[in-house]
Point group: C2
Chain length 314, copies 2
């Protein structure tokens, strides 16, 4: 198993710099007062396609040789990775084949189509998604880009924490959400390389706590019927992700649905930023554990902002 | 009548720099494609208190002598200026008396109280607001800070455009909304001083078009029963503001309510930024006049982000 390193993150940053937004780091006195710490929010909700996923997708797409690229790329996803891969491919001028479950929300289908992705619909099961993608890959020779269990993707995601630490010195703790572990593994590699004494802690919904249980157990425990409003965090940890996380992450904290919604609303109201529920999970962890995290300098990666405005939890 | 100049804006910037956020300038390829121009959004919705108003309030408060400051400041307002003045006063450690109509939305009362403002309620008429404030001023000796017809406030508001032009070179056109004219007059002073060949154009709702009519007529025509979703733009032009605007602004364009809501939704969905309806007015003007503004580099000041999440127009 090929594990990416911080060197790969530096290379990724060089490669994707001209295509991504260097997202701002924002602060809120109001939220600092509530938590009792100084928090620096790295706004990946303001990244292209509305999520950090564009960094990893860009690195995967622009790392391809000309020969590979000409055949196109593909993935199965109903979420942010699909839109990110479609846009990265369009920028490189190649095809992106996206396999989506037929019951995907209209808003997601529109986003992928809007970025020029070639959509193939399938039954809404993991088996159908994988076999449909495999069929396309066999016919077309596309390079399949996994949303998180992929070294290039992980290296791309790590560039967000790299930018954060370059901009804000003396961070005690960096936090992000964990789903499949792409963002968390990339973040941990960057933080431990740039600032070895800083801690890395992830937040995870209690209703989808496979990473928490895997981290405690010492081996991967797959997710079974996860249920959370944080729809970006329903996936199980990838193997490469787990290998990096188990070595480089200090802790994983689970949070309630109520805290996620409360944290999300806080960011909307006090920071005027649209974030999706997954993005609110680290702040939810701080809300539930104020005493533990008092008087620290904390970096939080706001992972994305893709929500259906017609279906808000408040 | 004392008219502020760009020199006053430079002084204001020095004075308030350490208290305000230097807000980011963000771009959106999706919106650029829709309009056919390159747009640079100066995000004053991410300013402290959620609006550009904090710049002007800060300059007014920190320009006071010790002797003046000790007596406190005051204003009548149910909007963003009240919260801005309250916070600026709190930072300087002085009192802010805010006269609010008794029917002000709960969310506004909470915001002003949250920033430590001393609220006096009155009947919801302009007469009651002015006489209540006059009574307080006579008793306490506070300095009354008008929300826009005030040279210090105008100079403070002008710092947003100054930052925008310092960061983004070669802007063909700078746009902002116009209500009382505080932001527009400050913006025009900055733009014409820093980049004399750039144009300054304001957007105004058709249902509250007193600035448009005043600009065309050559004298102030007060607002009569204005009606628009852009609740920050219901006020009539101030005299100082009008004097500056008539000399330095290139045009004022009116827009429909439908375009305002469409532009607001576009910024929410594509930029993941919470903006209030007033902020969407310049983009609405571009949506209604795409041909006129094609292939330009356009700066837009997103004026604020204070909306009631329970009462969205979409």
């Amino acid at each position: 198993m090929e594990l990416p390193s911080f060197k790969n993150i530096i290379e990724a940053h060089h490669l994707i710099k001209e295509y991504i937004h260097r997202t701002p780091v924002l602060t809120s006195s109001a939220i600092n007062n509530i938590i009792g710490s100084e928090i620096f929010f790295k706004c990946e909700n303001l990244q292209k396609t509305g999520a950090f996923k564009f960094r990893g997708a860009c690195n995967a797409v622009f790392s391809l040789t000309e020969e590979e690229a000409i055949r196109g790329v593909g993935t199965h996803s109903s979420g942010n990775h699909a839109a990110a891969l479609a846009l990265a491919a369009r920028i490189r001028g190649i095809e992106a084949h996206i396999v989506m479950p037929s019951n995907s929300p209209e808003i997601k289908k529109k986003a992928v189509a809007g970025y020029g992705g070639i959509i193939t619909y399938c039954e809404p099961t993991l088996q159908a998604r994988e076999s449909t993608l495999r069929n396309i890959a066999e016919k077309t020779g596309i390079v399949v880009v996994h949303p998180y269990n992929n070294p290039k993707v992980i290296a791309g995601q790590g560039t967000a924490a790299k930018e954060l630490l370059e901009e804000i010195p003396h961070i005690d703790l960096v936090m992000c959400p964990v789903g499949g572990g792409g963002l968390l593994s990339g973040t941990a590699l960057s933080v431990k390389a740039i600032s070895p004494l800083s801690r890395v802690i992830a937040g995870e919904p209690s209703g989808a706590d496979d990473a928490f249980r895997s981290f405690r157990a010492g081996f991967i425990i797959p997710s079974v019927q996860p249920k959370t409003i944080a729809d970006g965090l329903l996936t199980s940890l990838g193997e490469i992700n787990y290998a990096i996380i188990s070595q480089n992450v200090d802790d994983i904290i689970t949070v309630s649905e109520e805290s996620i919604i409360k944290a999300m609303r806080l960011v909307w109201e006090r920071m005027k930023l649209i974030i999706e529920p997954s993005s609110a999970v680290p702040l939810a962890a701080l809300l539930e554990n104020k005493e533990t995290f008092r008087n620290l300098r904390i970096g939080i990666i706001l992972s994305g902002g893709n929500v259906d405005l017609g279906n808000l939890p408040f």
